[in-house]
């Protein structure tokens, strides 16, 4: 394991403020797509287009590889605060990646 410099103090303080929240990790479904799109827009600043169809497609293509983090502190208003997406890809870790990144990942 590599030694890694610890997180800056300000970010550690931010973490303490969110510790009281109830976060649940669960599989992504199509009903999360709207909130995921809002989160993605906030983080990646892509206000000009929607990713709702993309998120729904990922959940349909490979449901096992999709997860959302939901803040359930207010059970009446669960809120998507994180998500992750995976797809199946054939590769051998023992061999170098000779193709370009775009080719390897099918352009994302």
């Amino acid at each position: 394991m590599f030694a890694v410099k610890s997180e800056p103090e300000g970010k550690q303080r931010a973490a303490q403020n969110t510790n009281a929240r109830q976060i649940v990790i669960q599989p992504t479904t199509a009903r999360h797509a709207e909130q995921m799109n809002r989160l993605s827009t906030l983080v990646y600043s892509h206000a000009g287009y929607s990713r709702v169809a993309e998120f729904k497609s990922q959940a349909k293509l490979y449901p096992e590889g999709q997860f959302v983090a939901i803040d359930t502190t207010d059970p009446h208003h669960p809120r998507v605060v994180g998500y992750t997406s995976c797809m199946r890809l054939q590769f051998n870790p023992a061999e170098p990646l000779l193709e370009s990144w775009s080719d390897t990942t099918g352009y994302g």
Partner: protein, 141 residues
């Protein structure tokens, strides 16, 4: 497996949400007995020193633990191994479009188990109520 994307709300960063999402991925890799996961990591803080050092030097310093990158440092801490730089990874002024290919190898991966799972014994692929193979040959049609 390919880690397409991970995203955490800015208000929740540093609170373990990203780590828990990553753990869900690792659990999936173990459950499906997959070799590992490859992903791209955006070096988010590179713009702060881009006028001083090249991206490969930056990554070496993050690996050595002498420099903290908001993204890559956490992934290394989680057990990812940086492989190589990716030019034009994502258009983002923070990374100056640089990314790093990172790999997490499943320590529990067993090739034998995967082979067994894929090659099912003959009775297992039959439909109906036939009992497990008792040594008899299947009846000729």
């Amino acid at each position: 497996m390919y880690g397409v994307e991970s995203c955490v709300h800015p208000d929740y960063r540093g609170s373990g949400v990203g780590g828990r999402l990553m753990d869900a991925r690792f659990a999936l890799l173990r459950r499906l007995n997959l070799r590992g996961m490859i992903a791209g990591s955006m070096i988010m803080d590179y713009h702060e020193v881009a006028h001083l050092i090249a991206p490969d030097q930056y990554v070496h310093e993050v690996i050595a633990g002498t420099r903290f990158d908001t993204n890559l440092s956490k992934q290394i801490h989680k057990g990812f191994r940086p492989l190589n730089l990716i030019p034009n990874y994502e258009h983002d002024p923070r990374s100056l479009n640089w990314g790093v290919a990172i790999l997490w190898e499943n320590p529990d991966y067993t090739p034998e188990a995967r082979k067994t799972a894929l090659i099912l014994p003959f009775p297992m692929v039959m439909s109906g109520n036939r009992p497990p193979n008792n040594g008899e040959r299947p009846a000729a049609r």
